[in-house]
Symmetry: C2
Subunit: 199 residues, 2 copies
């Protein structure tokens, strides 16, 4: 049982941040694991095996009030979750800049584009313009897909031009690369990167 | 005057996170600006001018308790600052992965290596091993220096081998590249990257 400097006990269920993670736990592969957990484990595997250096960025938080109790660590007493202006994951692989976002849906027939906000798409465009490797890992329809940012832009623009607001399953099957789930690493997306960007 | 959803007022002086930033304000160039402020402004300039895509990572926070008031945003009621296992800044420039940390000292004669922790040095080694461009921006002695990670490793190992625990001013003058301070961008470190890595 974890106890914090103030002696309080860490109670995960009530205290989880209000991120996709909480939602994921119900859905992702029904293994009680979240997509984020699996990607973190995978990135740790890549790091230890010296395959790639890719980390999840911390959750952006707007800090409003901090207390500085004597003889103990600073305590954040009031803060709010902020929307990220970039993607969640970045790093380096084979000397190239890697940048991606991970999303999932419970939908059975399509992936809703409302999972992204304009800032993230704009960031992905900038990364692609500067020669980076940019993509989305999508957990949907009991599969995990790697969709290149360039493909995502096509569906995003179709939506902006009053087209459909989601990517149909058959469209994803055609335009994305399936990632095989394993034990370790759990989501071996580097294989997909190799075939999509290095071959 | 900023007011948050709860109507509370944002009072920067008491509420700044307990990072280097608070310290910096007393010292950095005596312009009331922090090194972090100037680097954020510089990165924003690079982004708008489409020169590079480099962002500061959010401050890592261990969230302990979150309230979910009805009809309003989730409020983090208890959280603690976490030590980062990576560096603060990364991104892409001229197709290459960029990764750096920014530090400053009030010391007059040397830069103390205790400004870094082993995790950060280890991360920098991994970045260099994978072909990334990795360095430290050091604000010291009324100058701003760009020191290549490879040079920092030398001083770090000297310290680990019971050598001195800091980098002397004359050593920094010899091994680092001076960054000229300007109005916009304020800290034009890309010029130093060009001369150190692309020429």
């Amino acid at each position: 049982m974890i106890r914090y400097p103030n002696g309080k006990q860490y109670v995960p269920s009530q205290t989880k941040p209000a991120t996709a993670k909480t939602k994921n736990e119900k859905s992702f592969s029904n293994r009680g694991m979240t997509l984020e957990d699996d990607l973190n484990e995978t990135n740790q595997y890549y790091l230890e095996k010296q395959i790639a250096v890719i980390h999840k960025k911390p959750t952006p938080v707007q800090i409003v009030q901090v207390d500085y109790p004597r003889r103990s660590a600073a305590v954040i007493k009031e803060a709010y979750f902020k929307q990220s202006s970039t993607t969640d994951y970045n790093g380096i692989y084979r000397g190239k800049y890697i940048d991606f976002e991970a999303k999932e849906t419970q939908n059975k027939t399509s992936f809703p584009l409302k999972n992204f906000h304009a800032h993230q798409i704009e960031h992905m465009r900038q990364v692609v313009d500067h020669g980076g490797i940019c993509f989305v890992i999508i957990s949907a329809f009991n599969e995990v897909y790697l969709l290149k940012a360039e493909q995502l832009f096509y569906f995003w623009e179709r939506c902006e031009n009053n087209g459909r607001k989601s990517i149909r399953k058959d469209e994803l099957d055609q335009s994305a690369c399936l990632i095989k789930l394993g034990y370790s690493p759990r989501i071996d997306y580097i294989k997909a990167i190799d075939s999509l960007y290095f071959s």
